[in-house]
């Protein structure tokens, strides 16, 4: 069974702009690249798939559950358990350390899980630091750890490499793919970063 299946997703911004999206199917351990020009609705699609926008037409099944029928509270709970999101800008809660920023996203505050994850993402030595003191690459790795802490079945990444240099972009992509494959998660990357097209074959382009 695919992790995520969408059909006939249409979203209208204030009744003026309407985005009509192609159907998506993504299996566990698979990576799907969603590309397109600026303003074509890439981030909107990611927010719809992540349950952060709910006034759309169409159906989204995640692990066989139709999240389109959920109301706000149900969507929040479902998202917390099943979906991890990496945002374009690795924002953190300034008053908390890197460790607490990751743990606050965890449903069970799984400390042991954090240690393993931090080791794999090479941020173990940064856990007690304030996020603002980290470099961009370190921040992005910490953001990936935060998205993975709940072992989500669906991992969404919004422009995860667009602000990184080639070296860091390749490292972040490798990490995302390796960790999602290790967890058996479906990975959907939304980007306009042409560098990723050369590395991920499975993709759709929005117009």
């Amino acid at each position: 069974m695919p992790v995520i299946t969408t059909s006939n997703i249409i979203y209208s911004y204030d009744g003026k702009r309407t985005f009509s999206y192609p159907d998506i199917i993504c299996d566990a351990g698979e990576t799907l690249l969603v590309t397109g020009k600026s303003g074509c609705g890439k981030t909107t699609l990611l927010h719809i798939l992540g349950g952060m926008l709910n006034r759309y037409k169409g159906t989204i099944l995640i692990n066989g559950v139709n999240i389109s029928a959920f109301i706000n509270g149900q969507l929040d709970a479902f998202r917390g358990k099943n979906i991890g999101i990496v945002f374009q800008h690795s924002h953190f809660i300034k008053s908390l350390s890197v460790r607490d920023n990751i743990l606050i996203a965890s449903k069970n505050n799984k400390y042991t899980n954090l240690q393993q994850l931090a080791e794999k993402l090479q941020i173990k030595h940064l856990l007690s630091k304030p996020p603002a003191t980290l470099s961009q690459g370190e921040q992005q790795r910490a953001a990936i750890a935060r998205a993975l802490i709940n072992k989500p079945s669906l991992l969404l990444a919004d422009e995860p490499t667009s602000s990184l240099d080639d070296g860091n972009a390749a490292a972040v992509l490798d990490l995302l793919q390796a960790q999602s494959a290790a967890l058996g998660s479906a990975l959907i990357i939304v980007t306009h970063d042409e560098r990723l097209k050369q590395k991920i074959a499975n993709g759709i382009t929005l117009s």
Binding site: G50, L53, L96
Partner: protein
Amino acid sequence: MIFKLIIRNLLYKPLSTILSLILLLFGVAIISLLLTVQQQLERKFNTDLKDIDLVIGAKGSPLQLVLSAIFHADVPTGNIAEEEVNRIVHNPMIEQAIPLAYGDSYKGFTILGTDSDYVTKYNAVLKKGRLFNQPMEALLGANVAAAAHKDIDSTFFGTHGQSEKGHQHKDHLYKVVGVLQPTGSVIDNLVITNVETVREIHEHHHDEDTGAKANDEDEKENHKKEITAVLIKFRSPMGLMILPQMINETTNMQAASPTLEINRLLNLMGIGILTLQYIAAAIMIMAGLSVFISLFNRLNERRYEMALLRSYGYSRWQLFIIILSEGLILAVTGFICGIIISRLGLWMLNNYSSTEYHVQLQSLHFQPQEMWLLVISICIGLIASLFPAIKVFTLNISKTLANE
């Protein structure tokens, strides 16, 4: 983790948090201190009034008469003739009349000449020894015995007036025959002897002052017949309606109702206390505004953080509660700090009043009215954080995350 987040958020911008906290704690401390002092003074007055319906003394200020005769917190208005007093106290409307004669002190504690009914009136129980029954025998209140380190069979000289540095009656040696247990009333701060002792000493002192000879029998006789005041208890309230007016209009004495005078005093104090309470309430409202401004300003900086929390699966209600909790924690912390400051203030006031006036205030008791102060503080915290919490509740996460 949520609690940690709330605390870290409050500490992240410590200056605005501290400002809100200081305003809250000052408001709470002032109101609490005023409530406690007022309540304790009322309790003290009620304890010392002890069914005393009327005080008869020399003409002058009725409040001064009440304060001096019952609370020993002022100088007497003068002396009255015992003969004139006797004409009044045999009135059938009077159930009990306790004579008082005073003017001397020992280490700042009033030496009171009276009879054993006075001791009974304040339900005082002997800790050691016995009651006085001879001139120059003294019974010590609990605080006097403790402060002066005196026990039965010890002796001392009285001092003329209330000052410790006054003239000592060196030829009149008091002997302690009993020590009372603490009662929490004015009797704890008194040296009690019989009326004859006070008369004898004053007669002697008068002779020393004037140089008059002791054989001036007429003057001596007049002196013997004077006392300072009488505490009256009526058989029925009717006595209070008839006798005071009669005494004030037809004798050289004055009659003062302690209840009336103390109520007048409390009302006068009440105006000042009420004004201070209004000022403190205004400070608390300012504290509420400070909490609101602090939370609201920080909210604008934290919109993305709130949207992030939503993306982790936190519900609108959880975020709503986080913001409300921040206001609530500030309010409760302000209340607790305010109560601590109030108790510190009361403790300092107690040190001062017990040294200067021998009046003890109980410092640590939680007053029932302070529960209302806690409720008001919580309401201020909740109201101040309600609008920011509603803004978080209605936050559009998609728009917030996309705009960043």
